[in-house]
């Protein structure tokens, strides 16, 4: 059962201020409506994982780590590696995160990131086959939300792609019926550099990269993932409220422009020049 969430109450004063600023085309933290917060990326934060990245987007901190294993392929894709995305809303990040099995928020986040990476074909899963029908690489992306100040989706996509870009896979040789792990590694190749852009709506106004207070005060958010070729590979409206078709079309246009910019910043350390 999905149940109406109980958002922490923002004081009326805070909300009024937020709307007053919006009416003037400004935001409480000084940003313009379509401006992202400061973004920093630390590659290889978890040395023991095959790939990892720590992303800070303002006060939001997301750690993504990739663990590589060997698994039986799915029956309908015997020649493809397996990609699984899992997100943990770690309770130290926020008083609203609780220990326990994955919440609908964490599942929805993981599934959106999964779609962004899978549909954009950022990874060529068919290159992750060891023995067709028998052994394929499995990539587990674990998203760990360490500090929560809104816009988990965009930060998580950026963290995941950066973590994947640092991922080293062990080589295997086939010995008779069995495979043997070698002490050699190869780098996972990325085929695309998708970015997600998330907008929070307040009536007919919207801002990009909402911080937590903006998310709480907003009617709903819309996230869009754009590929390097400006095509879209994932979209999702989250929360109640209605999006006008006109605004939707606006967002498509804005996202292509903003996406180019964000991609440049987010993947500056990993994109080949």
């Amino acid at each position: 059962m999905s149940i109406t969430e109980q958002r922490p109450i923002i004081s009326k004063l805070e909300k009024q201020e937020l709307f007053r600023f919006l009416a003037e085309g400004r935001r409480v933290d000084g940003r313009s409506l379509l401006q992202y917060r400061n973004l920093s990326v630390q590659l290889g934060y978890i040395e023991k994982a095959e790939g990892s990245a720590l992303v800070e987007l303002g006060n939001t901190k997301v750690l993504a780590a990739v663990k590589v294993g060997v698994a039986l392929p799915f029956a309908d894709t015997p020649n493809e590696g397996i990609l699984i995305v899992n997100a943990e809303l770690v309770p130290l990040a926020s008083p609203v995160f609780e220990p326990g099995p994955p919440s609908e928020e964490s599942i929805s986040l993981a599934r959106y990131v999964d779609r962004s990476i899978r549909e954009s074909k950022t990874i060529d899963l068919s290159s992750l086959c060891i023995v067709p029908g028998r052994s394929v690489y499995s990539l587990y992306i674990d998203l760990y939300i360490l500090d929560y100040d809104g816009n988990l989706i965009d930060a998580s996509v950026i963290a995941s792609v950066n973590a994947l870009s640092t991922t080293m896979l062990p080589k295997y040789s086939l010995e008779g019926q069995n495979i043997k792990k070698l002490d050699e590694y190869f780098k996972l190749e990325l085929k695309d550099y998708p970015v997600s852009l998330t907008y929070a709506f307040f009536g007919d106004k919207y801002v990009v990269d909402p911080c937590l207070n903006e998310e709480y005060a907003s009617d709903f958010t819309v996230s869009m993932t754009v590929k390097s070729d400006d095509r879209f590979c994932a979209i999702q409206k989250n929360g109640g409220g209605m999006l006008s078709p006109r605004s939707f079309l606006d967002l498509l246009e804005k996202s292509i422009t903003l996406g180019k910019e964000l991609r440049r910043v987010a993947y500056s350390q990993i994109v080949k020049k």
Binding site: M1, S2, R111, S120, Q236, G239
Partner: protein, 242 residues
């Protein structure tokens, strides 16, 4: 999107004979269950989906209630026999996500401030699945709410649009959902010109999405008319059967 399957016949029509912008046959009935406050049944292609509404009723335990409006609980669930392989009845990650997406969409329609401290339960059961179940489920759930007499800001109808072999199409069936290039479920309220549910996966350009959106609006307007007809039938005959 693995093996090569042709989604169009030589005459340019889809595998089930439809034109690009053509809906599957739809059958809607309102008021089909005896215990629920409101209920509706929809068949869209081979989809068979029931929706039921209980409430508004006191929200228990109290700490889940809100002082200024009612809360909604929503469960989208697939019957174990609704899919080709038997599905475990425990909720999958997909079902948990869709329950949330559908609750959000319904939340934008219900006049929640009329019923403070109460809860409305919405159950959507997919008895047979054939692509586009979340959309058909939403179309039915909105009717179940109306059948329960819950004041709404308006109806909303839902339909997936998408892309297959480079062509933008309406109301994807199971095959097109699986082997097509993109799937974009949309719920739309024509009175308020508002999108209440929006997701997309697969790959589409801005221009393709624009075209798809336009087709979705037309399609949901058609379904909206069927919703209105089903409600009229309900309140003239009051027949109850699945």
């Amino acid at each position: 999107m693995g093996e090569k399957i042709s989604l169009f016949k030589e005459d340019g029509r889809r595998t089930d004979g439809r034109a690009l912008d053509e809906l599957r046959p739809i059958k809607i009935k309102v008021g089909v269950l005896s215990n629920a406050q409101g209920s509706a049944y929809i068949e869209q292609g081979k989809n068979k989906i029931l929706a039921a509404v209980y409430g508004p009723k006191e929200a228990l335990p109290k700490h889940i209630s809100l002082p200024d409006r009612c809360i909604l609980r929503c469960r989208y669930h697939m019957a174990p026999f609704s899919t080709p392989e038997r599905k475990n009845p425990a909720p999958s990650r997909r079902e948990i996500e869709l329950s949330m997406i559908l609750r959000n969409a319904l939340e934008s329609l219900v006049m929640t401030s009329l019923f403070p401290r109460t809860v409305i339960d919405i159950f959507i059961e997919v008895l047979q699945a054939d692509g586009g179940t979340r959309c058909a489920g939403l179309t039915a759930a909105v009717l179940a709410l109306a059948d329960a007499g819950i004041p709404l800001k308006g109806l909303a109808a839902a339909c997936a649009v998408g892309k297959a072999e480079g062509k933008v199409i309406v109301d994807l069936n199971d095959l097109e959902d699986k082997y097509g290039e993109a799937d974009m479920p949309i719920a739309y309220n024509p009175t308020l010109d508002g999108i209440t549910l929006l997701q997309m996966d697969g790959i589409m350009s801005k221009e393709e999405i624009e075209q798809a959106l336009s087709l979705a609006i037309t399609a949901t307007q058609k379904i909206h008319k069927m919703q209105v007809d089903a409600l009229k039938e309900r309140f003239s005959f009051s027949r109850r059967e699945v």
